[in-house]
């Protein structure tokens, strides 16, 4: 099987998966007992208001028709309208997504880069104090709840040391860089505004390190285990017997081969990253999808919750697909 047909089959497999996912989200959110319209209004409202509300949101239709409308809408890029003000949810997603993406990219990078580096060190210094310390670090960081770590950082760096802001995405006294990609760090660099870049980094630092540290442990342990495993493998032994340098064995053999499971893990971690983003964003008042979702949950805005969750789900599906394709690119055996 060629790479091309492999990719095609993966893409085709993703379609029923996404479909199943969309259905599941719909079922969980809508078919649950309780009337979303009634639950949305916490106090009593007149039947006329309620009827009008149901009509505009399409909640007066039979459930199967709501489902068809929902799926059909998604194909047009319509994620429904919010119960709050009937505004299209896609608008909110569009406005909020760059913030979450920026946070996720930096925390993901932090976790992968430091996780792999520490994992490699740990494996190379196998069974020494360095190795044990790194492993301890991996377990501890994995076990800390993300909001707790966030608060500790806020207390240390924002309250005691007063060197980093405790929340938000940009200094409220200044205007953020003009939107090109929506990522402040990239937009400020594209417009040549080093000063704005500095501010965005300052605001990014605590939330992305917090979220990154939570994911760090997995990558440390995974890298270490896989490095140790490949180091003991026959092909590393025979590479040594052929007189290859230990540098080229570590990087061309151990790390390259250990990278495949790491790549898979990156795909799996994206889901955890997004879940972690919800908590991190709340802790740091980061104006992304996470805070939006939590805000909508407080307001029992069912349509907005559904739209955001669907968006998260599609993101995870897309990343999983991308990882599968990358995996095939790196591992020739998959293409068989």
């Amino acid at each position: 099987m060629s790479l091309k047909s492999y990719v095609t089959s993966r893409v085709l497999l993703t379609i029923p998966m996404v479909f199943l996912l969309l259905t599941l989200v719909f079922v969980i959110i809508r078919v649950m007992p309780g009337d979303p319209a009634l639950l949305h209004f916490e106090r009593h409202v007149s039947p006329e208001v309620l009827a009008e509300f149901r009509r505009r949101l399409g909640l007066d239709l039979p459930i199967w028709q709501q489902y068809i409308n929902y799926i059909a809408g998604l194909f047009r890029g319509d994620f429904g309208i919010s119960m709050q003000d009937y505004s299209p949810i896609i608008q909110h997603l569009h406005a909020r997504f760059p913030a979450t993406l920026e946070l996720s990219i930096y925390s993901g990078l932090f976790a992968v880069v430091f996780g792999v580096i520490l994992g490699v060190i740990s494996a190379r210094k196998y069974d020494t104090t360095t190795d044990h310390s790194i492993r301890l670090l991996a377990i501890v960081t994995y076990a800390i709840p993300v909001f707790f770590l966030g608060m500790i950082f806020q207390i240390i760096f924002s309250v005691w040391l007063r060197i980093l802001p405790s929340g938000l995405r940009f200094d409220p006294h200044y205007t953020p860089p003009p939107t090109i990609t929506g990522l402040y760090t990239i937009d400020s660099l594209l417009t040549g505004n080093i000063w704005a870049f500095g501010i965005s980094i300052r605001y990014l630092l605590l939330p992305s390190v917090t979220l990154g540290i939570i994911l760090l442990g997995i990558f440390i342990r995974l890298t270490r285990t896989n490095m140790l495993e490949t180091q003991q493998s026959d092909f590393v032994m025979s590479a040594k017997a052929r007189g290859l340098s230990s540098f080229s064995i570590t990087y061309r053999y151990s790390l390259k081969n250990a990278f495949l499971p790491i790549l898979t893990m990156i795909g799996i971690q994206v889901a955890i990253l997004l879940a972690g983003a919800v908590l991190t964003e709340t802790t740091f008042s980061w104006p992304g999808l996470g805070t939006y979702l939590v805000d909508r949950i407080y307001h029992r805005d069912y349509t907005a919750i559904q739209g955001t969750v669907v968006f998260f789900a599609i993101m995870v599906a897309v990343v999983t697909l991308a990882v599968d394709i990358l995996y095939a690119y790196f591992d020739p055996r998959i293409r068989l």
């Binding site: 026959d234 092909f235 032994m237 017997a241 052929r242 290859l244 230990s246 061309r252 390259k256």
Partner: protein, 340 residues
């Protein structure tokens, strides 16, 4: 004849949770130029560990305790960050860089399992480029690939398959690739650690034939490690029999098969099936080898030996040369020992 390899008093120990296991115990071996020395013994007798210690690649937690591994280097090697003078050198005295320069270039090692000995993510051609460039830094990639193609062709593999990945090859072909990588730099000594165990009998015969041809073509000396005495009967000039990390007997191949001296060798040969006598009941050796972590004093074969004497329980018997040329570590052949 000069000795290419001379092992003196070599001991290797593995440090385990239960204690220290002596996998190679006080071994002396000689390998002459252009000869094949067969190293045979049952699983766990230390034959692979001995092979790996010549490469100085004994895996953790093993350690070479003492001994000399004298190797006759035919040319001086100069490499980035060091050099090795030609002549007889003790591999144990070399630093990591010097040892790296000798591995693959003068000493080649072929592992048992060809299915796992090639990096699955690296093309066959890149395996050749790697080893050639690791030792001859100024060789260009194209030239290295060309050399790889030539080697594949001598081994009966289509040269254009050099761009394939290991998983696209069968087991026998992979072992040929391993051999090809082994001889790529015209080494002096080829250590083959059960090179045909993972293969079927027909491929085994082909590979052994090819090894014999290559040995002539490149003036190779070979250390062939196996538990298959039949393989050694075809290929080896001399055979060393190992048991519990010690060499029990070294002899010319013919004399070992025709007139085995050590009781252990005799038992081993009785256990080899013979196609001409299909009805023969195979003999076996009662008992099991002693625990290496808690070794018994004296000869390690004593509990299973039908000729055991009092003296066998005192001191390990030394390896002594008989008038007939064999070397045996057994008190049966020591003069002046009362045989009871």
């Amino acid at each position: 004849m000069t000795n290419l390899l001379q092992i003196e008093n070599l001991s290797v120990e593995y440090k385990t949770r239960r204690g220290i296991a002596r996998a190679v115990d006080n071994v002396f071996l000689n390998l002459e130029e252009n000869k094949t020395l067969g190293l045979a013994g049952e699983s766990g007798c230390g034959k692979s560990t001995l092979g790996l210690s010549i490469m100085r690649l004994v895996p953790h937690p093993g350690r070479i305790n003492e001994g000399k591994i004298l190797f006759n280097l035919d040319e001086s090697l100069i490499f980035e960050g060091g050099s090795v003078e030609k002549g007889q050198i003790d591999l144990m005295q070399l630093d990591d860089n010097q040892m790296r320069a000798i591995r693959g270039r003068k000493l080649a090692y072929i592992f048992q399992d060809p299915m796992t000995s090639l990096n699955p993510l690296i093309r066959i051609g890149d395996h050749f480029t790697e080893i050639i460039q690791a030792h001859e830094e100024d060789v260009k990639k194209d030239e290295a690939i060309n050399r790889g193609e030539e080697i594949l062709e001598t081994l009966g593999i289509l040269p254009e398959r050099i761009t394939d990945y290991p998983h696209q090859f069968s087991g026998g072909m992979r072992q040929r690739v391993m051999i090809g990588l082994g001889i790529a730099l015209r080494p002096r000594l080829l250590i083959a650690d059960e090179p045909t165990t993972a293969l079927d009998v027909i491929v085994e015969a082909q590979i052994l034939d090819e090894l014999a041809t290559l040995k002539k073509q490149f003036n190779l000396s070979m250390l062939l490690i196996t538990h298959n005495l039949g393989v050694l009967a075809q290929t080896a000039d001399d055979i060393a029999i190992m048991y519990t990390g010690r060499v029990m007997e070294i002899a010319k191949t013919e004399s070992l098969f025709e007139d085995p001296k050590h009781p252990y060798t005799q038992c081993l040969l009785k256990a080899v099936p013979d196609v001409r006598k299909p009805d023969k009941t195979l003999a076996w050796i009662a008992g099991a080898p002693p625990d290496l972590i808690d070794p018994i004093p004296g000869c390690m074969f004593r509990p299973r030996c039908e000729f055991a004497m009092e003296i066998c329980a005192t001191q390990p018997p030394p390896l002594e040369k008989l008038d007939t040329g064999q070397r045996v570590a057994c008190y049966l052949y020591t003069k002046g020992v009362s045989k009871k």
